[in-house]
């Protein structure tokens, strides 16, 4: 149970526009397999900035990031893209589906990109995920025909398609009503409990973070409790 999935080592980041502001200051922590972690803190304290770094999309920082015991420093863009594809699942506040594609295709795309399973298998797995999230009826709809809550569940299905090491979310319930927020939380909880899925979710929502295994609280670019 104490296998380390992700480790942040003294991560700092500054923006230089227009004046230099240190947004993250010496952030260090580890996340173990199967943990359901929430990151909270006041608006503007650097939560999103930290998440973009941990997700490997932002490479402009000091310190080091280890995912699955591998350092992310000095990796090429294409290698990082492949790592994201294989090991990290994303859920954002705004649902970010591809409107040109159907629900099923949206879920399948990262799986097809990984190219580990055949197209039929990826499709089958995608349908299974849609079923667990209770949206299998919507599979042929275009992404922009769904409600907010439905979109968020599709995004979760997409995050799951490659069996990621960790699922990261930036306010995944921030744009949903209470009922839908609860549904999404229950899904995360279930993934954690039943599939030992590691989750790291940035949130404002006190009622959400209280229910998670572990809360990392930030203030002014520093961790004040974890």
């Amino acid at each position: 149970m104490s296998e380390i999935i992700l480790e942040a080592q003294h991560i700092s980041k500054s923006f230089h526009d227009p004046v230099t502001i240190k947004v993250l200051n010496d952030i260090s922590f580890t996340i173990n397999k199967g943990e359901f972690v929430s990151i909270t803190g006041k608006s503007g304290c650097g939560k999103s900035t930290l998440l973009y770094i941990l997700s490997t999309m932002d490479t402009d920082y000091e310190g080091d990031l280890l995912i699955d015991k591998q350092s992310m420093k000095n990796k090429k863009e294409a290698d990082l893209a492949r790592l994201r594809n294989e090991k990290i699942g994303f859920v954002f506040q705004f649902h970010y589906l591809l409107n040109e594609f159907s629900v099923l295709q949206n879920v399948m795309l990262p799986g097809l990109k990984l190219n580990k399973y055949s197209e039929q298998e990826v499709e089958h797995r995608a349908m299974e995920h849609l079923k667990t999230l209770d949206i299998q009826k919507l599979y042929s709809k275009k992404a922009n025909q769904l409600s907010g809550g439905e979109k968020q569940r599709v995004a979760i299905a997409r995050a799951l398609i490659n069996d990621p090491y960790i699922i990261m979310g930036d306010e995944p319930t921030g744009n949903l009503d209470k009922k839908n927020s609860e549904i999404v939380f229950e899904i995360f909880k279930q993934l954690c409990d039943e599939h030992n899925q590691t989750l790291m979710i940035v949130t404002h929502d006190q009622s959400f973070s209280k229910k998670t295994n572990r809360i990392i609280e930030m203030e002014d670019g520093k961790i004040i409790s974890q």
């Binding site: 294409a78 893209a81 594809n85 795309l109 990109k113």
Partner: protein, 419 residues
């Protein structure tokens, strides 16, 4: 890289914006259509005009220029051998128009396998008698079989049979303009006066129209034997040997070689009709530049549409990158979009270009100068189609290159934060 996936994503992005895509593709189609049509038509026209002169010109012509002897008597004198001699008023004596030893020259040509064929010729300056008026004219004494084979004499014969020139003794084929002046028609007998003052009756067995009025008003054809009789010359009097080569580009080299070998003057076609070549190449350059200009304009259209598409698809690009597509994948997706616009637009252009040139090919085009031509000339050279498709792909590739690069450099963090 998973090309199947890349192509299917590109296809979905394209179809989601099919109206814009169609406009871009129509731009390419239009320019390739014009490119193909223009080149086919211009080249058809070039070929026609080439045919007018080049088909009828020998690749190498052997003849003797009348000119003063290079070695003057003073050069034989031992006393003045080391002097620089100035001689004035030299006359061209002792030099004859006739090609010496033409029998053995023709024998040598027959055995030269670079030579496609040759036609001997001699010309006679005569007066055609029309009542009391004498019309200045020229009789070409030709071997009619060789002439037809090598210089397409048949194409210009508008009445009569060319073989009659050989079979009917003392026969002549008149230029159309000349026949009109003489009020002569096939079957009539006309009279000529030779430069020696002899009067000679000739039977008209045909009329020709070359397309060049100057020639039609002045020239006529007779057999070699008849012309020799008119000139009062012997059976082996020949003034020109017209040679056609298998490879026209060798003409200048071979002309030089023959001039040495046969001790005659030799003129190659490139020298004889250089101004003509210039006209052809200028027309070709114009067609290519118009075609390529059209393509460049279409290229800018594609560039604009792809740029717009990238602004619209920023979110999609960010998502693709966040879920594991690399910059290179995104770059490929947009290049595939550009190239498929080029491919389908270009393919349509080839098709419509072919249709349009076939339509032009059907439009009647009758001109007195060109008796064998009935419709506008079109050259269906497959090379134009190859160049057209090549250019459409290259242009769209270049037009897609910058937008694709831009797309590949999109930073997903900025897009996602910007929401």
């Amino acid at each position: 890289m998973n090309y199947k996936l890349i192509i299917s994503i590109a296809r979905s992005l394209l179809l989601a914006r099919w109206k814009q895509t169609l406009v871009a593709a129509i731009g390419v189609t239009f320019s390739i259509t014009m490119f193909i049509t223009l080149l086919s038509f211009m080249t058809g026209l070039n070929d026609l005009l080439d045919g007018l002169i080049l088909n009828r010109s020998p690749h190498v012509r052997l003849y003797n220029e009348i000119k003063p002897n290079k070695i003057q008597p003073i050069n034989f004198s031992k006393d003045y051998i080391n002097y620089h001699n100035f001689i004035h008023s030299i006359k061209s004596t002792n030099s004859r128009e006739e090609i010496y030893n033409n029998g053995s020259i023709m024998e040598a040509l027959k055995n030269d396998n670079r030579v496609l064929g040759f036609a001997p010729k001699l010309t006679a300056q005569v007066f055609f008698n029309e009542g009391s008026i004498n019309i200045n004219g020229l009789i070409n004494g030709v071997d009619i079989i060789a002439e037809s084979e090598l210089f397409f004499f048949n194409d210009y014969l508008i009445s009569g049979k060319e073989l009659d020139l050989k079979n009917v003794s003392n026969s002549i084929v008149l230029g159309k303009g000349l026949a009109e002046k003489l009020l002569a028609n096939v079957g009539d007998v006309i009279q000529i006066t030779t430069s020696q003052g002899e009067i000679f009756p000739l039977k008209v067995v045909g009329l020709f129209q070359s397309g060049l009025q100057e020639i039609d008003k002045l020239q006529s054809y007779a057999s070699i034997g008849t012309t020799q009789k008119i000139l009062g010359k012997s059976k082996n009097h020949i003034t020109d040997i017209q040679i056609k080569l298998k490879d026209i580009t060798q003409a200048p080299a071979i002309a030089k070689e023959y001039a040495q070998l046969f001790q005659t003057d030799a003129e190659d076609i490139q020298t004889a009709s250089s101004q003509f070549e210039t006209g052809s190449s200028v027309r070709t350059i114009i067609s290519y530049s118009v075609g390529i200009t059209l393509l460049v304009v279409a290229g800018f259209g594609i560039y604009n549409i792809l740029n717009m598409m990238i602004y619209e698809k920023m979110d999609s690009i960010a998502i693709l990158k966040a879920t594991g597509f690399s910059g290179k994948d995104v770059n490929m997706i947009f290049l595939v979009i550009a190239l498929s616009i080029g491919f389908f637009g270009g393919f349509g252009g080839l098709f419509f270009g072919f249709i349009l040139s076939s339509v032009i090919d059907q439009i009647p085009f009758n001109t007195a100068a060109l008796p064998t031509i009935t419709t506008y000339p079109i050259n269906y050279n497959p090379v134009f189609y190859i160049i057209g498709s090549f250019f459409s792909l290259v242009t769209t590739y270049l037009a897609g290159w910058f937008p694709a690069r831009k797309a590949s450099k999109v930073d997903p963090v900025i897009i996602i934060r910007g929401k």
